[in-house]
Amino acid sequence: MGVEGIGARVARKEDKRFLTGKGRYTDDMSVPGMKYAIFVRSPHAHAKIKSIDATAAKAMPGVIDVLDGKQLTADGIGNLICGWMIHSKDGSPMKMGAWRPLADETVRYVGDAVAVVVADSVNEARDAAEAVIVDYDPLPVVTDPVKALADGQPQLHPEAPNNLIFDWELGDAAATDAAIAAAAHVTEVKILNNRLSPNAMEPRAALGIYDSGDDHYTCYTTSQNPHVARLVMSAFYNVAPENKLRVIAPDVGGGFGSKIYIYPEEIVCLWASKRTGVPVKWTCDRTEAFLTDAHGRDHVSTVKMAFDSSNKITALKVDTIANLGAYMSLFSSCVPTYLYATLLSGQYDIPAIHANVRTVYTNTAPVDAYRGAGRPEATYLLERTMETAARELGLSPAELRRINFIRSFPHQTPVIMNYDAGDYEASLKAAMAAADWDGFTARKAEAERRGMKRGIGMSCYIEACGLAPSSAVGSLGAGVGLWESAEVRVNAVGTIEVMTGSHSHGQGHETTFAQLVADRFGVPIDSVNIVHGDTDKVQMGMGTYGSRSGAVGMSAVVKALDKVEAKAKKIAAHLMEADESDIVIENGELKVAGTDKSVPWFQMALAAYTAHNLPAGMEPGLKEGAFYDPSNFTFPAGCYICEVEVDPDTGQTEIVQFVAADDFGNIINPMIVEGQVHGGLAQGIGQALLEGVHYDPDTGQLLTASYQDYAMPRADNLPSFKVSTSNTPCPNNPLGVKGCGEAGAIGSPPALINAITDAIGNNALTMPATPEKVWAAAHAAN
């Protein structure tokens, strides 16, 4: 590895502009004649719209127009859709209710958009939005997914009786039930996975620009996948054909999944720009974000885990109810199914698994993927169950896990996944050593003398990243393929541009992708530019989510680099009259191995473009593209250990140490990986200790609509993390990488809750473990 190559701790190239305020986000974009949109939103969680009167609003100062759902429908703009088909176990397709970008008949959650005001300024648009008179006929409300399934509850969509979207299963029910019936011990737990708000630092925004001269649209938007946005807006929403629609996702300040989806606002801004003849910009405010960004998690599950007399797991049975909110968001159906139940084997050799998942409509914001997406739900369920089982069986948590670890690879689980590589014992050992597990008893005794209850807990997680083999996901219902594209352009002076379909919104791709090129050709990373986020610049791409940019996006770059390298060697060999098989590339030069003959990289590039002296029949230029479709998922795994002290008087939890030992495969930039782990841990700890979306069950009003009530993790909630990696390279992609973006958020919640329940001696605790819940559980245990 060079100082800037693979494995080097290169400082992030993009940070200069982010840290000096020079980032260019969607809200920074300004075009001549631009006007501002404010949405009129439903204050009711469920109501019929009787009428909308915008007469007074239209007459207000600065107002260009007020548009509503009937006009949108009349102009042929389509429904928002869910792009992953799931069939119920009876064979029937999922029940997708209509989601209009502007509701024209019924509103189904507080914040549902009903009209848009376009005005000269944001303030004038707000004033006018308040003057739009919407006459609602309120309907009864249901927010709880379990209750929503019962008879006699409010019905959200006529297509979905009892609000049931699908009733899906995975695994062998009969074998699982038989193993449970024959078990020496069965551990049963009920698991709640709390609903979360994503809270990216940059709120969502959209700028729609319609050019009547070319009948062409441009959309700047906060997207993790601008090409998918263009495809979906084109193919399903009838905004414009792809060749008439350019989508640009410039700097994006965090996504965490919430910016994967196509939301009503970007569609409406494009449509409104055509209707009004002016560019239209909308920027979400924070309360609007709490109301309308797709939420995450929100599962209610029951679990049975069966053991034989030697404490080997013989079966796992899971029943889950997942709240999908008022409408099916873009990938909402795959999160509680193929991204969840397929990971229920965890790191363990489990012969029989059966999962049943029912998804439900409620009068709440749509729920979709949020950092980890299904895998945190699976890990939390499994690792809390393992900890509970260890306590019931009287085994140490490490011992029970060791007894059940998968130790040979590849390993076929009963729930689709085929694990390619891993060494779970290594991560467990590393984490226990780093945490000084053996010294815990002494530390606990010392804490007890201070009146504090000290606890320790672990979590051994596995996740599936590198989404995903296209044919495999296609067979499971995905509406898209999940390959990635790249194009490497070598300029005539030897500098290099890499076009990637991956999208960076905090991950540091401008640095890590450039490190691949520096490593391959020995050129400085400053001579490499990473270009992403613009459908006019990058031909096609599937974007960034599911920790896929390394395993899939970078693999596409590697394929394109292979092609560039091959052609560069041919040119150099021709220039030096050598055999191309003798050419090696080192430190920015193409050399003839074993001789002192060499051609500098830039000279080879210039030769490619002057084309004065190229091998016979070779095309001029040096530009190569590649598509990479992975052959399997990747399987990052690891062991996290958390140690806490609980104040028994108040229930306040302090995390006294947190250890993360991960296996991410090969690593391109360890510093960036550590940053990803730190951020993921903070998010996971936020879920476990602080965060939770709450709706009033009677009115459907969002009770946590600001940071006054929604508790985000802050620096003083977190310890200094001890992170390390012990890596088994992924055998299925050229770099041997697995992905690291979500692990922290996946592995940490159960480790923390296992530590708290250990401290207080009571297993009945739900997330977030607020001081009151911990205090009450601690007292109930005494």
């Binding site: 303030n123 707000r126 004033d127 308040e130 309360t287 008087d649 108040t650 229930g651 306040q652 602080l690 709450h694 009770l703 946590t704 940071y707 006054q708 009530d709 929604y710 508790a711 985000m712 607020t770 001081p771 009151e772 205090w775 009450a776």
Partner: protein, 265 residues
């Protein structure tokens, strides 16, 4: 935010005059609540009369054990006043935990007291210290000043110019913060005077705002020690239940915070 007119008077008299001429005026005394509320369009003041630039309302004076804090004094100024710290460090410590540094450099003691947020810290100190709330027309005992949630004895247009109190022999404030807002979920200010008089004031927990806890006061007057709190019962029926904490949990916090405050005093 709706349109508003901003005024910056340099005397109390000018401030009162500006207010009387405003249609729906509001005094601005730091604006740490008011500006945020206006930005959310939940308040619509026609005029904002800024009290932070009136010289006679600023500064801290300590004479012996007699303390006077101008109403436009910021939390940061209270937190870092050496003279105040010498006679009543509990008030400095309280101010040092309000909001964050930005809030402490903008927010004022007068603004906090006039707003009487049921989870704000200062009202507990005022009540426990038996402070006088000095206005441009009268002095109001703290016991009469805080009348309910966001309600005070102030008349329309009346301005708090200062607060005054005699520093007690011992005092301390302990709060248990709401995990989200970091306002007090229960905050307890204890003060003990040389004559044995004890006051215990509780914020963040009462369903009608700040209040004194007679049971705690009686127990601590008899025995000024953390142990004295143990057997005092706290009635949860007058306490708040919300998203973050039940009344029963707040009752427990009141006991724990009182105990810790006595230990710290």
């Amino acid at each position: 935010m709706y349109q508003t007119n901003y005024h910056r008077p340099s005397s109390i008299q000018e401030a009162v005059k500006l207010m009387s001429g405003a249609a729906e005026g509001k005094y601005l005394a730091g604006g740490m609540t008011l500006i945020a509320t206006m930005k959310q369009r939940l308040a619509a003041a026609s005029d904002l009369v800024d009290l932070r630039h009136i010289a006679e309302m600023k500064g801290i004076t300590v004479n012996g054990r007699s303390v006077r804090i101008g109403a436009a004094t910021t939390h940061h100024e209270v937190e870092s006043s050496a003279e105040l710290k010498a006679v009543c460090p509990a008030v400095c410590a309280l101010a040092s935990h309000i909001g964050d540094p930005h809030v402490r450099h903008m927010g004022t003691i007068g603004g906090s007291i006039a707003n009487n947020d049921p989870a704000a810290d200062y009202p507990a100190a005022m009540l426990a210290l038996d402070a006088k709330i000095v206005t441009n027309s009268r002095e109001i005992a703290a016991a009469d000043f805080f009348t309910g949630l966001f309600e005070t004895a102030l008349h329309d247009g009346e301005i708090i110019t200062a607060i005054a109190f005699d520093a007690p022999a011992r005092a301390a404030y302990q709060k248990f913060p709401n995990p989200a807002s970091r306002y007090a979920m229960a905050g307890v200010f204890v003060a003990r005077r040389d004559n044995g008089d004890v006051r215990v004031a509780v914020t963040g927990a009462g369903s009608n705002g700040v209040f004194r806890h007679q049971g705690m006061e009686a127990a601590l007057a008899g025995n000024w020690s953390p142990d004295a709190v143990g057997n005092v019962s706290v009635d949860a029926s007058d306490l708040l239940t919300d998203l973050h904490a039940s009344a029963a949990y707040r009752a427990n916090l009141i006991k724990v915070m009182t105990k810790r405050a006595v230990a710290a005093a």
